[in-house]
Amino acid sequence: MPQNSGGTRREKGQNGHVREADLADDGPGTAEGGARGRSYSTRSGRERDAGTRDAGTRDSGTRDARAREARAGGYGARDPRAADSGGAHDAASRERARRWPLAARQAAQRAARQVLELTGRQPENVISIAKDEEGWQVGVEVVEMHRIPDSADILAVITLVSMRAANSSPASASGAITAAAPRGAEMTQPWSSAPRAPGRPEPANLADILERVLDKGIVVAGDIRVNLLDIELLTIRLRLLIASVDRAREMGIDWWEHDPTLSSGKGGLADENRRLRERIGELETVADGGGDTRARATPANREVADPAGRQIRTRRSRPGQDNDG
């Protein structure tokens, strides 16, 4: 099952599991199979959703899949408003939480903490965050199994789904899916080295506008302050989910691998990730300091004990490349 290995995480000082260096290990394969099945059912649901353009008839398969993830994840069982057990939120974020149920960054932090609690594995990265009518979906990456060389580490992406509807009506969210779906298709052009005729440009696309109005322009201190950093992060992720969920799934789940913002170590999202990681580190320190009796689960029993929506991350260079393996 070559699909299962292939992370490239560099984990200094943690790569001592020589006995697990069997290259043909099929262990995670079962998890992969499960994750794939769900992933496909979700996708087909989405496709039908977009195809019928009917906000009222969400595909039941999608809903089932989501519900399963949400139940299993346990993430949604928490009231996002509740003062969290980690207790490491600062006053500002608590204030935010009170005012607005769950901001993007908090959702990511909570999800990361939940992953830690659920799996006993330290979250590596929050790799995706998106909100839909049912709440937040946060993808958190963990090292499933350390290997030598560490480029063979197996990474898992755990998707946590918050069931709380975060103040957004189903109608508007579904509307966004239908409205945004064609954009990607329209704009995709076959490769060619010939430039498009310059001339009078077509109406600006949303990505260009958001890039400018959210991040550029004169900054003056208005009387009403909105943290655009959160919004920017959120917007990118939301758009990703909404605009091209079908195409993205077809691509595989490795888009961030060739996202230079994420992989080059510079740029806003990379910084955001770094901050989230640091934050997670702090949270973990706090958690560990508090008399931690949590057993460190072995991979085997975590297959049972951790039913959170899990996808083994394959990081394929190109979709379909490994299908013959």
């Binding site: 070559p2 292939g6 290259l23 043909a24 005012r99 901001a103 993007a104 480029s151 063979a152 957004s168 508007s172 966004a176 945004a180 298709a185 329209e186 704009m187 995709t188 490769w191 080295s193 430039p195 310059p198 440009p201 600006a204 696309n205 949303l206 990505a207 260009d208 958001l210 400018r212 109005v213 959210l214 991040d215 550029k216 322009g217 004169i218 900054v219 003056v220 208005g222 009387d223 009403i224 909105v226 655009l228 959160d230 919004i231 917007t235 990118i236 939301l238 758009r239 605009a243 091209s244 195409r247 993205a248 691509m251 888009w255 060739h258 230079p260 740029g267 260079s317 190109r318 393996g325």
Partner: protein, 278 residues
């Protein structure tokens, strides 16, 4: 100005009145000028309940609302910038009332005046360049070679463990070798593409009054999901030279195999309204 109104500011410009009649603001409100002919803010009165801090944060978190607000904000700025030197303000700059806006104009009058003079007669163009990963990494040929890559003799036993099938590398070993070849090819390809991006940026920068690079956009935001965005630049160009600039960019990229170009503009000078020196 009742209690329930707030002032949303779009831009700072000069002598804006004649051009404002066509624009409607983020709340559908008529847009007006605050200030004097020399320096004025383009603003509109919005419902403080709908555009207050909590409401705004919630609305901007909703993709539909964000898009609508962002486009409306941009549209006002675009209309103004088409006729006047314009400093766009970042989205969601909201004041309690017009007096607060006047105070801002007074306080930063010299700075805004300088920037408007600098931007006068200039406009922004966006240039995005994508590299085709297949061309950058050597294309299908390399991939096929990777899939049939042989393990050097003697190493297969070490690496492959129990793979005593006698027909070359085990599936796992072959996979890892393929992975490594692919990763190397991708890294090299990315570097090649990024280097061309740097060159194009430098060349276009010489045609422009000023140049900035933005972070690459996510592939799925742009709809160009198969390409690497190796350049996402913004260039401040003298207004009369926009066509020339775009044509030059086109010529530069068309000479390179595996690269794709997208020129957008003219834009209001968003990317150059953060101060001329940085």
């Amino acid at each position: 100005m009742g209690d329930n109104s707030a002032t949303w500011v779009y831009a700072v410009t000069r002598d804006p009145d004649p051009v404002l009649l066509r624009a409607a603001g983020v709340g559908g409100e008529p847009v007006r000028a605050i200030g004097d002919a020399e320096l004025a803010a383009v603003a509109g009165s919005v419902d403080a309940n709908a555009f207050g801090e909590a409401a705004l944060e919630r609305r901007l978190s909703d993709p539909d609302e964000l898009e609508a607000i962002a486009r409306a904000h941009h549209q006002v700025i675009e209309v103004v910038a088409a006729a006047r030197p314009t400093l766009p303000l970042r989205l969601a700059t909201v004041y309690r009332d017009d007096d607060r806006v006047r105070a801002l104009l007074t306080q930063r009058r010299a700075e805004f005046g300088d920037m408007l003079r600098w931007l006068d007669g200039r406009t922004e163009y966006g240039v995005k360049v994508w590299a085709d990963p297949e061309v950058m990494t050597g294309g299908d040929k390399q991939e096929q070679a990777g899939q049939t890559m042989q393990v050097p003799g003697g190493r297969s036993a070490d690496v492959g463990g129990d793979g005593a099938t006698g027909r070359g590398p085990t599936a796992g070993t072959a996979y890892l070798l393929r992975r490594r070849a692919n990763l190397t090819a991708r890294a090299d390809g990315w570097q090649h593409g990024a280097a061309r991006g740097e060159e194009i940026h430098a060349a276009l920068g010489r045609l422009a009054v000023a140049a900035r690079r933005h972070a690459p956009q996510d592939p799925r935001l742009t709809g160009n999901e198969d390409g690497w965005m190796v350049l996402n630049g913004a260039y401040l160009v003298d207004s009369g030279r926009g066509q020339e600039f775009a044509a030059t960019a086109g010529a530069m990229v068309s000479g390179l195999a595996g690269f794709q170009l997208d020129v957008t503009g003219p834009w209001p000078a968003y990317s150059f309204s953060v101060g001329r020196d940085q």
